[in-house]
């Protein structure tokens, strides 16, 4: 299981990468492994507002449909539309397959660093 040190993680298993004013958000390696093969991603639209702790879309695997919970509040400025046709990249490259980019971040959930998140996952597993 991979936990890149440069990322922050939410307890809902999303990762966040802060680049200047922008928060880039995806799902963690642990999340994709728990979900199993992802077959569909329900993406939000550009310009949508997201709220920390609330769903901004969902992912469907052969097991279940799970909410994508935003770790931050702000405005979506970019959506990775490629995921609509290739949802499997969430499994093969969870940290490369970003889902949304959020700007104007006003609030965020409690975020963990890689070591703390790895410990959190070990507890959940």
């Amino acid at each position: 299981m991979n936990f890149p040190a440069e990322l922050k993680y939410s307890k809902d298993h999303e990762w966040v990468k802060f680049e200047g004013d922008t928060a880039i958000i995806g799902i963690s390696d642990f999340a994709q492994d728990a979900l199993g093969d992802v077959v569909f991603v329900n993406l939000p639209g550009e310009g949508d507002e997201v709220n920390a702790g609330e769903a901004f879309g969902d992912v469907e695997s052969v097991k279940a449909v799970s909410d994508l919970v935003s770790p931050v509040s702000g405005t979506i400025v970019a959506v990775n539309e490629e995921l609509a046709d290739a949802p499997e990249t969430l499994n093969s490259d969870p940290y490369g397959a970003w889902i949304i980019k959020v700007e104007g971040v006003t609030a965020q959930e409690e975020l963990l660093d890689a070591a703390a998140y790895e410990a959190f996952c070990a507890e959940e597993a």
Partner: protein
């Protein structure tokens, strides 16, 4: 097996129609299709064999054990089908004048009386076509109630526990409510503190299944409904698990204001395979004015959620089921469903462990997460290996609050011998996971279809036959 299209030979047919004795009228060219549809052309015997072949590949309640948790795949007595097929019922036209359908009206009224008694409600409609439609109707009653009292704007939230069926939050959302999810307590029931924390003047209602989706009867139910009523909210009962309590305890007495019941799962009618179903909705007197009604039977200015009286045939089967079992038989069926589930849970214990180790209701959940870590064998692998043993797998990966869940609901009609045999199979499979996990990863081995590629089937489904 060959598809019906592959059995087809041009020019072969099974009809023996007399020559047409009325003048033939051609459709205008603009309305005609250019190419004839690719319909299969087969003889009657070929057609009969096609369906028999299909039938052989299906596993139903009539072919074997089918403990699909939360679905109540129970045996449906033949007499229910016979009554629904009586020509006086089956051949009636929904637009027939009311004075010619008195028998059908009486059947509807009789069933309504029974359902109100079992639900503990004052009124009932059979309009909704099935479960989720019933939920939708039930929550709309709650919405109408708040609107009529001028509190519609203020009450914007519906509370749903995290163990609920996915249709509950979907229903609340479709009715325009904001869904508030509350985490379950460690015992799988509603966490009273979590509930109190979200209750307030913006609460429209609570949606709850009791017994819940882990097969446990929430002992705090009276306190739960009291708390919701205290803030002015209403309580909606999801009847998915009514089979565990019918005739024993009534949702109305638990404090619920409205309920939907899947007549097709609890009160006969073969369940699964696409219906038709019937999602009867019952309610207390304070909601009765908002119940949808057929305009034909005196409900002139009522709202309808479906045409006429819903799926009338399913209502007839439910009526027959209740009349056949009677006041003693209905609770006895529920008690046997609970007894069978507890018997099976106890027999399997010591191998696959229950997620909540206590007396269950009509179903129980096994938690295979530890087993998966030890053997690499998942709930899916166990389910697929069960197919090789001639029984239907249980529900897997539900409820979501249990990882690697297997959810079993044996139902009331299974014999002790069947349950003993099923427990034996489960115990053997538990051992097999330690010895030969690879075998289980590749199961089923003897079924008509091996392990399908679920991922490819979902991503690139082929659902239509095309001419080669």
């Amino acid at each position: 097996m060959k598809l019906i299209f592959e059995r087809s030979v041009p020019g072969r047919h099974l009809d023996l129609l007399p020559a047409c004795d009325v003048e033939l009228i051609e459709l205008p060219a603009a309305l005609k299709r250019e190419v004839a549809p690719a319909l299969p052309e087969v003889s009657e015997s070929e057609l009969s064999r096609h369906y028999t072949e299909l039938n052989k590949q299906v596993h139903g309640v009539n072919s074997g054990f089918y403990p699909l948790g939360s679905c109540t795949m129970k045996y449906n007595p033949r007499i229910d089908e016979e009554m629904a097929a009586l020509p006086g019922f089956a051949n009636i036209h929904p637009l027939a004048p009311a004075h010619t359908t008195l028998g059908c009206q009486e059947a509807l009224e009789t069933t309504k009386k029974y359902m109100c008694e079992i639900f503990g409600m004052d009124d009932c409609t059979f309009q909704p076509a099935a479960g989720a439609h019933g939920e939708f109707t039930g929550v709309l009653l709650i919405k109408q109630y708040h609107d009529a009292r001028g509190e519609g704007q203020q009450r914007t939230k519906i509370i749903v526990p995290d163990s609920a069926h996915g249709t509950n939050p979907a229903t609340a959302n479709m009715c325009g409510y904001q869904v508030v999810n509350i985490a379950s307590a460690p015992d799988g029931c509603v966490d009273l503190e979590a509930l109190k924390a979200v209750l307030g003047p913006d609460t429209a209602g609570l949606m709850l299944t009791n017994p819940n989706t882990v097969g446990i009867f929430d002992e705090n139910i009276l306190e739960i409904t009291r708390l919701v009523h205290e803030v002015g909210g209403l309580c909606y009962y999801d009847g998915a698990n009514l089979n565990a309590v019918m005739g024993v305890v009534r949702p109305g007495d638990m404090g619920f204001d409205c309920i939907h019941s899947n007549l097709h799962k609890t009160f006969a009618t073969p369940h699964g395979g696409g219906g038709p179903g019937a999602g009867a909705v019952g309610c207390k007197a304070h909601l009765a004015a908002y119940l949808p009604k057929s305009a034909l039977l005196g409900g002139g200015d009522s709202i309808q959620v479906r045409s006429f009286n819903g799926n009338f045939g399913v209502v007839l089967k439910a009526m027959t089921y209740v009349m056949t079992l009677g006041q003693e038989g209905i609770p006895e069926a529920a008690k046997n469903a609970v007894l069978n589930a507890n018997y099976l849970q106890a027999k399997i214990k010591g191998t696959f462990e229950p997620a909540f180790d206590r007396i269950c209701m009509h179903e129980f959940v096994l938690d295979l997460s530890k087993y998966k870590k030890e053997t690499g064998v998942s709930a899916l692998d166990v389910a697929k290996t069960l197919i090789d043993h001639g029984m239907h797998p249980p529900t897997i990966y539900f409820p979501l609050i249990v990882h690697e869940a297997l959810m079993l609901e044996p139902t009331e009609t299974e014999t002790r011998e069947t349950l003993d045999w099923a427990a034996e199979v489960y115990r053997n499979l538990y051992e097999l996971g330690f010895k030969d996990p690879e075998y289980m990863h590749n199961a089923p081995h003897s079924a008509y279809i091996g392990r399908p590629d679920d991922v490819r089937a979902t991503r690139t489904p082929v659902v239509r036959w095309t001419k080669a």
